[in-house]
Amino acid sequence: MQVAECVTSNVVLPQLRYAGLWRSIVAAPSVKDRLLHNALLGLQLRAKLSFDVTALHGLVLLYGPPGTGKTTLARAVAQEMVPYVSGGKVRLIEINPHGLMSAEHGQSQQKVYELLSEHLPLLADDRMPTVVLLDEVESMTVARSAASLSANPADVHRATDAVLASLDRNAADHPHMVTIATSNFTEALDEAFKSRADASIEVPLPDAEAITVILTQTLNDFAAAYPSLASLAGDKRLPSVAKRLVGADGRQVRKIVTDAMTRNVETVLDPGSLKLAQLEEAAAGLTIGASKGGRNAAA
């Protein structure tokens, strides 16, 4: 696999399809603010001061359970930064690192270094503020302390070295680049990688209040096609449904609406006829993963 094939998206923002993304993500304001502020202040400081002074690598780590919106947050922050950067444009580059790690034996280190130290800086060579989204970063930064040489090829260990070397190089050479890495498994991440993060921000599962907001938002979005759902979105009993969903991730909560519609053929024929009782039934039937400690967690 060529390194260029690992770049799944390379766009200059603002773009219409990213508009509203930031507001649509239900996360604590402190999480969003911290991410945005880190990205902006990092750009400013790294442009004005040397790495020796700031020790900033331009790396933000978003971690938390799957389905909590980490990837969406990373995409959205690039668009959110637009009004606050000189020039009013931000480039967003998305990387799928998995292909690199399945490269021929002995090639991973070289490919990782080529991607991060050569290819990405070339894409951002005009020095426009650039957000690089490194999704599921644990696939390329395996904790060397935990990985055994017998179970993991040496290539895996060396790939981690290559990521670290690239981060160090880009920190000084490309202060206009900000890398946002996401991970569901921080335990699997290499300590040296984690220590290079300028900020490690937890994106937790939504609480009951946040789940209510997600349900309301989802129903209102459905109401664009099925207007009668707007009244269900405003139903004061939605928080009771939300309480049943504590432990679910945001993605599961959104899917509950469709799941509830499938409970009766009437709502398949007319989704706009969805009732609160169907939502309650679907919420009661949701199996929440054991790792999340949910109400219906498997023993």
Binding site: Q44, A47, A172
Partner: protein
């Protein structure tokens, strides 16, 4: 930003082909800049081609780098000859940083016994030099961005709106 590129020479390439590969690397790197005319770069590399082939053929570039200084690019180019050339994993793609280069100079090495020939070949040719390259500048890297990266007024307004 300091970079190093290795180009396979004999027996992988003849001296003229090796020089052409070096020239293409330099042109491709600077071609990304809107401030640099590509034909000027091509002309400079062509003017140096005779002595460049001599440097390659004699193995001098194996030990002494040709250096492209085009702030923020600081590119060392060396050649690899012999058995190592046959399995060298080359990266001849453009070097990051070229898009914002404005001024540029190619410093050719002057090893014995070809030093005088190099000095003579580059004399009076714009953008070619037989002098030692300067130390790497940091003028376009982290410390020198005088203009604010941020739109501070917009950020201040955001803060105001949230109060």
């Amino acid at each position: 930003m300091q970079r190093h590129r290795q180009v396979a020479a004999a027996p992988q390439r003849r001296a003229s082909e090796t020089w052409d590969a070096i020239a293409e690397l330099v042109v491709a790197t600077l071609d990304r800049s809107p401030h640099i005319v590509a034909s000027d770069v091509t002309a400079a590399m062509a003017a140096a081609s005779t002595v460049g082939r001599v440097l390659v053929a004699g193995g001098h570039l194996d030990k002494h780098a040709l250096v492209l200084v085009a702030d923020p690019v600081y590119l060392n180019i060396t050649t690899v000859s012999g058995v190592s050339a046959t399995n060298l994993d080359e990266d001849l793609g453009p070097v990051p940083g070229g898009a914002t280069s404005t001024d540029w100079t190619i410093h050719l090495p002057t090893p014995d016994p070809v030093g005088d020939a190099v000095r003579s070949a580059v004399s009076g040719v714009p953008h070619l030099s037989a002098n030692e390259p300067p130390g790497e500048s940091t003028s376009k890297s982290a410390m020198s961005e005088q203009a604010s990266v941020l739109n501070l007024d917009a950020l201040a307004q955001r803060a105001q709106e949230r109060k």
